[in-house]
Amino acid sequence: MMRLPAFAFHAPASAAEAVGAKAAAPPGAMYVAGGTDLYPNMKRRHQEPEALVSLHRVAELKGIEERADGGLSIGATTSLTEVRIHPSVRASYPALAEACRLISTPILQNMGTLGGNLLLDTRCNYYDQNYDWRKSIEFCMKKDGAICWVAPSSPRCWAVQSADSVPLLVAMGAEVDLLGPGGERRVSVSALYRDDGILYLAKQRDELLTRVHLPAPNGWRAVYRKVRRRGAFDFPVLGVGAWARFAPDGTVEDARVVLGGVGSAPEAVAGAAEPLIGGRLDDDAIHAAAQASWKAGRPLDNTDFTISWRKEMIRPTVVRALGDLRDAR
């Protein structure tokens, strides 16, 4: 049996108490919600926190509420299953329901939370391994070692952003609330990530992600497409979040294409919007946006499949995602 390392376990009843408990705990302490990312990592000795601050008793972090502006506010510890089946999510944010459906397995969706998915540790073939395996390659930069085996001459870690909800939420322009010892702040989901496999979050150490805010569903649509080996379990080797806001006549007013699973942070494709804006998602525009995405995405040897195939998949997957966006009326 693979055993967890020992830890102290705090179970505060409120978000404020949780932040307090975390700040009072030793420096390596961590929040835990569903545990589906953290506990495997702990068993593999990626993280060995002396203390865990569990959020399971914090009722205010759970649940989905309509916001005054017509948007939706989702508590960070709402399970992926709850998000996936929620009537408002299904009706107004079907792409988010779909992204949650595509995460791992139905059982993991019962356990994993939306907040946990947003904060998912970056992944890598050389990192997501047991301690002895990692020792066999003298470890890697992300944990216990000095080299990034994905790019041995690189000074940085190239572990890959692998959460399905992230490219979609970035594309949608969603925001999150972060509660820290000094108070609460709201940032865009896109501002939550840094392009580094190790320091991949722009969140302060003790900050607690409390809520995810979805913009009101007025005039825009979004879709998510995922590439992976199997229909369950697997993390994305490519995720495409696509979003467009339409004028009443169907003309694209603005658009975003965001790639997941190719870099340490979600990759918002800079050149994707331009060919799409002002048109009606015709084939030429879609292909131009896909071409821009193909140029932007630079997968490395950090997931399943070969680098070259993953790179090649960007074009057809973006084409299909934008086709879904056109057809999703």
């Binding site: 049996m1 693979m2 055993r3 073939n125 997501d128 391994q129 047991n130 002895d132 395996w133 020792k135 066999s136 390659i137 085996w149 590439v227 080996r229 199997r230 229909g231 369950a232 379990f233 697997d234 399943d304 499949f305 070969t306 070259s308 195939w309 090649e312 998949m313 057809p316």
Partner: protein
């Protein structure tokens, strides 16, 4: 139970009037399995039990300079630590490859090779102690591939074998292959590659040892071969086998992966002896990958001559096996890559050359189909290519050229019942083959392939004249029947088969029978659950024991009732006079009569396969009492933009001889199809040759085992062509149905998008690159480019039966054959050829 309506007397081994055999019944252990009552090895807990962890090598190839266990030994809770020198006697499943040590003695040969074993009060303490052991290594260059192994500049992994890092090299020729190829209308020369993959049983291997102060040892283990574990324990621990009891717990899946004696089994036994306390180990999933013994990666080169009508003139087949770090079953695996090419379609002249290389990876061994899915893939894809070139329908071409039943092949395989023609006809009709092949929309296609497999190896691993399987039967005056047999239920239903067969013969309810299996102290030897031998061999042994018991009962009743014995029937829990059914006794009353006459009622049965006609060196691998046959049609869709293949539907027909229990047989067929699809599309056991030959992904997440989403509907047809050697005519079903799946997938992809993928797994990137080549007008193929150069030994030349051969090699009936360097072989060689 009600009295039977129309019992038939005598002749219980015929197929007339069967009341149990042929019915789809639950397995006798089904209730235990659906309620969580089945006790797997890790479910066992004994008082004072210690827990074991193994320290494993983190370098692929190195000499051990020193091991310092002092700090670990002083940790509170640590009871004992063993290192290699504590258990210096080597072992291995084959007598010719006794090349493993419980803990590495002087060098480590792959990442995961165990170097020390700790017993402690709990797993966490044992694990901490392992971390405190300091091993100093002198690193050697790792041998990462077959090419590396053939490079004499690399260090040797073992100092025995048929060459530098060549474990085994074999060559044999049946008839004049060059002449046969010269007279062909079409000669195809292809190279294929079948990537290695692993069994991945859901249960991680576990073992519990209990040494008693009276000098006796009991080992419970999730093993498919308690008999061979028994032998290995006696050898390594230097104990009389009579003091050792091995109990195989129900296996949570095996597929061949629990068929070797394993280091962890011996380690816990030795630790139990050292500490005087029970010691248990349960491997982590990563460690299960390091046990491996799975499918060999095999590179193949095939040159076959065809006539215009699709018949073959001759075949020259070469295989290169990447064997990993130890021998395991590898010598047999090597021969198996060449043995069964001849049993489906006549190959009048046949030359086989095969080699197995040592590399610094976990050892390969027997996985479902042992050594035969790889050459079957090559053969069935090449036939598809030949049919295309000859303008023949691939199904028709096969149907027109089938090995006749009850015949002997060029390499002296004796084929018995042969239902492949019926299998092909079933799947062709059901899949709509004639109307759909070549006529589906672009991106959609169907492909056909066939296969055949053994119903048990004809020779035992340790060559001897004793039975391969034994059954004891005990009947008591309460009417209770207990079957004792050494066989191991790995989920395939072998315990149930024993009950059904005994129930059939004695006319009792199979669920009233107690089955005691896989316990070397309580049950007679059965060699183990491998080579699809169990139903045929234990079934025949059970049949014999049951018929002997039946004779005792019927004889006693005949005397009591003063009627001829042939008038007495046993059925549905009754014994009765068929001419005067009012004259009857319950089964229990009948046993009382028999016991009063004969004393305690106990009978035995045993089974030894018939001798094989082959008399040449190497003839020991391939012979079987009976061969199963399968044909499959697979329908796929291929996404030409991504290269992704989805299997939509499978039609499969399997000639099982006779289904003792059809629903259990169908389960084996479906499971084989599933595993074949995994091997065809995604499963691979691969390593990073440039990163210390580390396993790429020893986890259930990254080793891609198909989920519910990858499994398609399967239409199963059981073809029953009874074989005279099988109990009630039964042949195997556990492995054969896997064989046609990978080639049928590849043939279907060709039908869908016109590209040839000459290797598995068929990943999307392979399909996409082949499609790109096709678009550029280049060869629309993805696959290996060639094979390494190797100086093959002179072949053993054996004239085939049609040329008047008698099964012996020319020149010398005991011709040694294999060339190259023949180092000192621990354990010695085996008379009569190489064991299966």
């Amino acid at each position: 139970m009600a009295k039977p309506d129309s019992p038939s007397p005598g002749g219980s081994a015929t197929t007339q009037g069967l009341r149990v055999v042929g019915r789809s019944l639950p397995k006798v252990d089904a209730v235990a399995k659906v309620t969580g009552r089945t006790r797997f090895a890790d479910d066992l807990f004994l008082p004072r039990m210690l827990h074991c962890k193994l320290l494993r090598a983190t370098t692929p190839h190195a000499e051990i300079r020193s091991i310092d266990v002092r700090a670990a030994a002083e940790m509170p809770g640590v009871a004992a630590i063993l290192v290699g020198s504590d258990l210096p006697i080597p072992y291995g499943i084959l007598p010719v490859s006794q090349d493993e040590h419980t803990l590495c003695l002087d060098k480590v040969r792959f990442i995961g090779d165990p170097v020390a074993a700790v017993a402690a009060i709990d797993e966490e303490t044992a694990e901490r102690a392992c971390r405190a052991i300091v091993v100093e290594y002198a690193e050697l260059d790792p041998v990462a591939s077959i090419e590396d192994a053939l490079d004499a500049d690399d260090p040797r992994i073992h100092l025995y074998g048929d060459g530098h890092n060549v474990h085994k090299a074999v060559a044999m020729e049946f008839g004049d292959v060059d002449a046969a190829l010269a007279e062909a209308d079409l000669v195809l020369e292809d190279t294929f590659f079948y990537e290695g993959n692993t069994h991945l049983p859901m249960e991680q291997h576990a073992a519990l040892a209990d040494w008693r102060p009276d000098g006796k040892l009991t080992l419970w283990s999730s093993t498919q071969t308690p008999h061979y574990v028994h032998r290995a324990l006696a050898r390594v621990l230097e104990l009389p086998a009579s003091r050792i009891r091995v109990i195989a717990t129900p296996n949570g899946g095996g597929f061949g992966g629990k068929s070797d004696p394993f280091n962890h089994e011996i380690a816990v036994a030795a630790l139990s002896r050292r500490t005087g306390r029970p010691v248990k180990i349960c491997l982590t999933r990563e460690e299960v990958f390091y046990c491996h013994r799975g499918r060999h990666p095999v590179l193949m080169w095939v040159k076959t001559g065809f006539r215009r009508d699709g018949s073959m003139t001759g075949m020259h087949f070469r295989s290169f096996l990447d064997g990993g770090a130890y021998g395991s079953y590898g010598v047999a695996s090597t021969y198996y890559t060449g043995a069964l090419q001849t049993v489906t379609y006549p190959v009048p002249a046949y030359r086989f050359e095969g080699l197995r290389a040592f590399t610094n990876k976990p050892p390969c061994g027997p996985k479902r189909g042992h050594g035969t899915p790889q050459p079957r893939f090559a053969l069935e894809v090449q036939i598809d290519k030949a049919a295309e070139r000859l303008g023949l329908d691939p199904a028709r071409m096969r149907l027109d050229h089938l090995v006749p039943p009850h015949s002997v092949t060029a390499n002296y395989i004796r084929v018995g019942s042969m239902g492949l023609g019926a299998c092909i006809e079933k799947v062709v009709a059901a899949s709509g083959w004639d109307a759909r092949r070549g006529q589906l929309p672009p991106g959609r296609g169907i492909g056909l392939a066939c296969g055949s497999y053994l119903s048990g190896a004809g020779l035992p691993i340790y060559w001897n004249a004793m039975p391969h399987s034994g059954v004891q039967l005990k009947l008591d005056r309460s009417g209770g029947v207990t079957v004792f047999c050494g066989s191991t239920d790995i989920g395939q239903g072998s315990d149930s088969i024993l009950a059904y067969i005994v129930a059939e013969v004695l006319g009792v309810d199979p669920f009233e029978i107690d089955v005691v299996t896989a316990d070397t102290s309580l049950t007679p030897v059965d060699l183990g659950s491998y080579s699809s031998r169990v139903t045929l061999m234990t079934g025949n042994a059970a049949l014999q024991a049951a018929e002997r018991a039946r004779e005792l009962i019927v004889g006693a009743l005949a005397e009591k009732w003063k009627i001829p014995a042939v008038r007495i029937a046993l059925a549905d829990g009754w014994a009765l006079d068929v001419e005067d059914p009012e004259r009857s006794l319950s089964f229990a009353e009948a046993v009382v009569v028999a016991e009063a006459k004969h004393g305690t009622i106990g009978t035995v049965g045993s089974y030894t396969p018939p001798p094989s006609p082959g008399r040449y060196k190497g003839a020991g691998v391939g012979p079987s009492p009976a061969y199963s046959y399968s044909a499959a049609v697979v329908e796929v869709t291929v996404d030409a933009e991504t290269g992704e293949t989805k299997v939509e539907e499978v039609w499969i027909a399997h000639d099982i001889g006779r289904a003792i229990n059809p629903v259990v047989a169908i389960g084996q067929v479906e499971g084989s199809v599933y595993m074949g699809l995994g091997e065809a599309l995604m499963e691979e056991m691969t390593y990073r040759g440039n990163r210390n030959v580390v396993h790429r992904h020893p986890s259930l997440l990254e080793y891609k085992s198909p989920t519910t989403h990858e499994m398609c509907p399967v239409h199963t047809f059981l073809v029953e062509d009874p074989d005279p050697n099988g109990p009630f005519g039964a042949k195997e079903v556990g492995q054969g149905p896997l064989l046609p799946i990978p080639p049928a997938v590849v043939n279907a992809i060709h039908d869908a998008v016109g590209v040839r993928i000459d290797e598995v797994p068929v990943t999307p990137q392979k399909v996409l690159s082949a499609l790109k080549r096709k678009a550029k007008g280049e060869e629309a193929r993805e696959g290996p480019k060639g094979t390494p150069a190797f100086a093959w030994p002179e072949p053993v030349r054996v004239p085939p039966p049609e040329a008047g051969g008698d099964g012996r090699a020319v020149d010398d009936p005991r011709h040694i054959g294999a060339g190259g360097v023949r180092g000192s072989v621990p354990g010695g060689s085996v008379p009569g050829g190489v064991p299966a």
